[in-house]
Amino acid sequence: MYNASDLRKGLKIQIDGEPYIITEFDFSKPGKGQALYRTKMRNMITGNQFTQTYRSNDKFEKPNLEERTMQFLYAQDGEYHFMDTSSYEQIFLTEEQLGDNLSFLIDNMEVEVLFFGERPIDVSLPIFVNLEVTVADPWAKGDTSGSDTKPVTVETGYQLQVPPFVEQGDKIQIDTRTGTYITRVKE
């Protein structure tokens, strides 16, 4: 159990059977009044946000959360199937649960899947992923339009801005936190 005095930004707690992460936190205490713990939190399953003020005698359960390393196998009918690399157990997440992660997810990629009890609720991708450029305008040497970047599409369908020298068939490294180009990768 957590006490109200344990609350802080980043702490994960369980409310009404669901896991929440605290995204903002403020301690306040009016003169001669009670300690108030003001929080903003996000439901880790639905993504819904809300604010709530607690008092010092409030208590919170610890959510049963566990991360497991899993490999992405395949997608079918909006379900994304992953396999535990040590137990070979398979699970799937929905397109909605994966959200923006889909821009960078390719077959055989190893990711960390977050479980709430037995239920997979989220994935964390590697910070850097290497993806192949599938659509790019050729680099026109002597282009003096002054543009420093051009748009390309990678194998997942994700589009981003890259330097003009990147060509179709190149592999590029992308930062999954920001979705931006890092470097061209020689293989």
Partner: protein, 306 residues
């Protein structure tokens, strides 16, 4: 944490505070910070020091000095409160507390005005003071320091900023929540604000208003949404004080903690007579006057550095 320059600035503030009170015939006292019994307050958790406690405020001993015959006293001292940590709270902090016999909270509010205006004159290089020392700059706001400041009763404040009556928030047990979320952030922006006349149940050690006994003569000073000081016309009736302590101790026991009546204090209390007293957070004052953003930037050592 403060740089050498910051420490110099802080030292100048402490000197200016002392000059103000010495100039008005207060005597500076210092009372024990480790005590066998404290004021029973259900919302304040003390640190134990063996079988005694670190003080949560110097109030008990200072009032006993008034009972001994002192007329005007002030003290700058360290106080300790468990589990208080935030942008405006630290477990160990510095309190400026002063008492004036023969006064009520009304005279004390006027003295607060004089106090801050005198600091503005003495400390013109502090970044928080505007030109001529007649304003205080907080974020993008310019707070006018010219007396009289804004006097707003708790009843008016809840009606104006929360559109609720005090009776309603008390009945629904959400006075503190509404105060913190809706009322406090609005106070003390045009001029510093005195929030005054609290419901007696929140009166702590304040005396009841003779003409309206459901109210206590207590006030809080707010500048730029920040609570800076808490003052009372002090309760001098030992019998009523004992009843309030006992009721507070019942709440403390219900919360599973220990608390007892400070008997020595109650023995001395009848000698204290009419007086008014106030406690002011020195680090918060320093933070405001020097335009720092948090208490952590306003102290010689922050917790993480120890």
């Amino acid at each position: 944490m403060l740089s050498v320059q910051g420490l110099q600035q802080r030292s100048r503030l402490l000197q200016a505070i002392r000059s103000f009170f010495y100039g008005r015939d207060y005597i500076e006292v210092d009372t024990p910070i480790r005590l066998p019994v404290l004021i029973p307050e259900s919302n304040i958790l003390p640190f134990a020091s063996e079988d005694w406690f670190l003080q949560t405020s110097p109030e008990l001993c200072m009032k006993r000095l008034l009972a001994r015959g002192c007329e005007r006293i002030f003290q700058i001292c360290h106080c300790f409160r468990k589990e208080e940590q935030g942008r405006l709270h630290q477990c160990e902090f510095i309190m400026l507390e002063w008492y004036h016999t023969g006064w009520s909270y009304l005279e004390l509010m006027e003295e607060c005005e004089l106090f801050v205006c005198s600091l503005a004159k003495t400390l013109p290089t502090f970044q928080g003071f505007g030109e001529n020392g007649t304003t205080l700059l907080i974020d993008d706001a310019v707070v006018d320091l010219t007396p009289p400041w804004e006097y707003l009763s708790v009843t008016e404040a809840f009606e104006r900023y929360a559109q609720r009556s005090v009776e309603d928030v008390l009945a629904k047990d959400c006075f503190d929540e509404v105060l913190v979320a809706e009322v406090e952030p609005m106070l003390g922006w045009r001029k510093p604000t005195f929030l005054y006349d609290y419901p007696t149940v929140l009166g702590s050690l304040a005396r009841k208003k003779p003409a309206a006994p459901h109210l206590a003569e207590r006030f809080e000073l707010y500048i730029g949404g920040i609570e800076l000081a808490n003052g009372f016309s002090e309760l001098a009736d030992a019998r009523e004080q004992r009843q309030r302590f006992e009721s507070e101790i019942r709440t403390i026991h219900a919360n599973g903690r220990e608390g007892r009546v400070p008997e020595q204090f109650l023995i001395d209390l009848p000698q204290m007579g009419e007086c008014a007293g106030i406690a002011l957070g020195v680090e918060r004052l320093f933070m405001l006057l020097s335009r720092r953003d948090s208490l952590l930037e306003s102290v010689p050592f922050d917790r993480a550095s120890l």
